[in-house]
């Protein structure tokens, strides 16, 4: 039957799913993760435009390959379409966006308002971030807000959801139903504090985490060992950040210019030695996925292919992480299909009918 997939509301693709016991949100991502399936998420490159088609076109290339799409909140402190705006567009079309909230640009008043607004539009997943410093972006003269930090932001969202209250204690008529996420970076100092920091995030309300780009699998393995020992893998779904590097030159540039991304020399050497560096970068990404998916406690991957979005499908396909499962895909519904067929008939078939003819055919 057309238009009826698993994890879809039969009354309309843009509507929230039925609540399930043990689930805090009514979204697709939480269902996939709680079923124990290996989840795939990705990032939408936000357009510098006011045209909704730009968002839809960029989301279309992930169709049927990912479980959720991150709507980034001015990542790298560069100005783009807002995450709230992108989420508004994506939820209309039935996609499952992960709304990122960065503490850099909004104070607690604006953030709590956006959480309510997002949830009302049908955003089920929110990712709480501190945000890059303004110095990193295209407008370094901007006022950095950082009223909350990622931890207190998580706690704020959790209080709104579980206690049905604003941070001030004022009551909400209908609390938002959310699946709360956070970010981790196991590759930056202080290394021995990082697992404990994940513990703090879980204590504040994180239910899933997405990691920074992982290029150093042994380092990630050590981190995961510690996280498992502390028992955090039972309380939180961990999605590993991966992505293709376009070339050795890009890798070097990222390493020296983008804070928080750790790329070992062996990776750069491998890229330099390759004939087709772009292809090798993609292969490297697939190899890393194949290694990290075997680590116990890893629940999924977060594929970040900035300006190489067309590779996401190939990477997911070739790594075989979905094991034949097809994530939700936007399909034409039966009634829409019927309208389209009739419209086709009316517009293109050259027929002139008179009332008399119509009466005749009706009998």
């Amino acid at each position: 039957m057309i238009g009826r997939q698993r994890d879809e509301n039969p009354a309309g693709i843009d509507l929230p799913l039925d609540p399930l016991p043990g689930h805090t949100s009514r979204g697709r991502l939480e269902r996939v993760l709680r079923r124990g399936e290996f989840a795939v998420t990705t990032e939408l490159n936000p357009p510098d435009s006011a045209d909704p088609e730009d968002v839809y076109n960029r989301a279309k290339i992930f169709d049927g390959w990912v479980d959720a799409i991150n709507a980034v909140d001015a990542s790298g402190a560069n100005c783009h379409m807002s995450s709230v705006g992108i989420c508004a567009l994506l939820t209309r079309m039935g996609y499952a966006p992960i709304m990122q909230i960065a503490c850099r640009d909004k104070n607690r008043i604006a953030i709590q308002g956006d959480v309510l607004g997002g949830a009302a539009m049908g955003v089920a997943n929110m990712l709480c971030l501190t945000g890059d410093g303004v110095q990193a972006g295209d407008q370094p003269g901007a006022k950095p807000v950082f009223d909350l930090d990622c931890m207190s932001l998580l706690e704020t969202c959790r209080i709104m959801r579980d206690n049905g209250k604003f941070l001030s204690g004022r009551k909400l008529t209908t609390p938002p139903q959310l699946f709360l996420g956070a970010a981790i970076n196991p590759f930056a100092p202080p290394i021995d504090f990082r697992p404990h920091r994940l513990g703090k995030k879980i204590a504040s309300g994180a239910q899933f985490v997405q990691s920074q780009y992982c290029f150093d699998v042994p380092m990630f393995r050590t981190y995961m060992q510690k996280v498992r020992d502390l028992g955090y893998t039972e309380k939180c779904f961990i999605l590993v950040g991966v992505g293709p590097l376009a070339s050795a030159k890009t890798a070097k540039w990222i390493r020296s210019n983008v804070p928080g991304i750790h790329i070992p020399d062996s990776v750069i050497k491998r890229l330099e030695g390759a004939q087709d560096q772009k292809k090798e970068g993609k292969q490297l990404c697939i190899d890393i996925i194949n290694e990290v998916k075997e680590i116990s406690g890893v629940s999924g991957v977060h594929v970040m292919a900035y300006r190489q979005e067309e590779y996401v499908a190939e990477i997911v396909d070739e790594s075989g992480v979905l094991k034949g499962r097809q994530p939700w895909k936007r399909e034409i519904r039966r009634d829409d299909q019927m309208v389209a067929d009739r419209l086709e008939h009316i517009l293109h078939d050259d027929i002139t009918e008179t009332q008399v003819d119509m009466v005749k055919t009706a009998h």
Partner: protein
């Protein structure tokens, strides 16, 4: 995505200097953390405090007890009236020792004696993901990350697990007030409440 720093010839040009040259004087500086100040100031004293976090932890415990002993005096004069002079001293002492920003809700004991308000993002719950491989700050490349130092400092302390507690968001209305007096007043109030409760329990038992 910051610009590369030219270090080929002459003394190394710091990022702070570049920022200082480029930015107009009127630019906003969050909580007075500015590259200008970084150029003028070294972190020597602050880093010394973190290295001696255990000593300072012990000293502060004694100091807080003494302040609490003096509670009748503060109450006698009036907390409102001593606020001014105490704040004057606190600001300068903690400013010298920790580069204190007078947030008014001191958590130095939970952060290894490294003041979290010196973080350009003012994070109070741990380091962001942007810490450089050498342990320096993402925003100010010349400054050691406040939270890398906090972790080191906290591990020397007796209450090394206090860094794991989740801190509430900063109450901005408490800025530029004395944390010493607030802690003392709260401790005294808690003590009195406990005493009143005990007293009530005792009279209840005797009656």
């Amino acid at each position: 995505m910051s610009e590369t720093i030219p270090t080929k010839d002459g003394p190394a040009v710091t990022q702070a200097t570049l920022v200082k040259k480029a930015a107009p004087k009127s630019d906003y500086k969050p909580a007075d953390v500015s590259p200008q100040r970084r150029v003028q100031r070294s972190f020597a004293v602050r880093l010394w405090s973190i290295r001696h976090s255990r000593l300072l932890e012990w000293f502060y415990a004694k100091f807080a007890d003494m302040f609490l002993l003096l509670h009748p005096l503060w109450k006698g004069i009036g907390y409102g009236r001593v606020e001014g002079p105490i704040k004057f001293v606190e600001k300068r002492v903690k400013g010298f020792m920790f580069d204190c920003r007078m947030c008014g809700q001191c958590i130095l004991s939970s952060t290894g004696m490294s003041c979290p308000m010196n973080c350009p993002k003012q994070l109070r719950n741990g380091p962001c993901g942007g810490v450089r491989a050498n342990g320096n700050c993402e925003v100010e490349p010349d400054m050691p990350c406040v939270w890398v130092k906090a972790w080191e400092g906290s591990q020397n302390m007796v209450h090394s697990d206090r860094i794991l507690t989740v801190q509430k968001p900063v109450d901005q209305s408490l800025r530029e007030t004395s944390a010493w007096l607030r802690v003392t007043a709260q401790a005294a109030a808690a003590r009195e409440a406990a005493a009143a409760k005990n007293g009530a329990a005792n009279t209840g038992a005797s009656a």
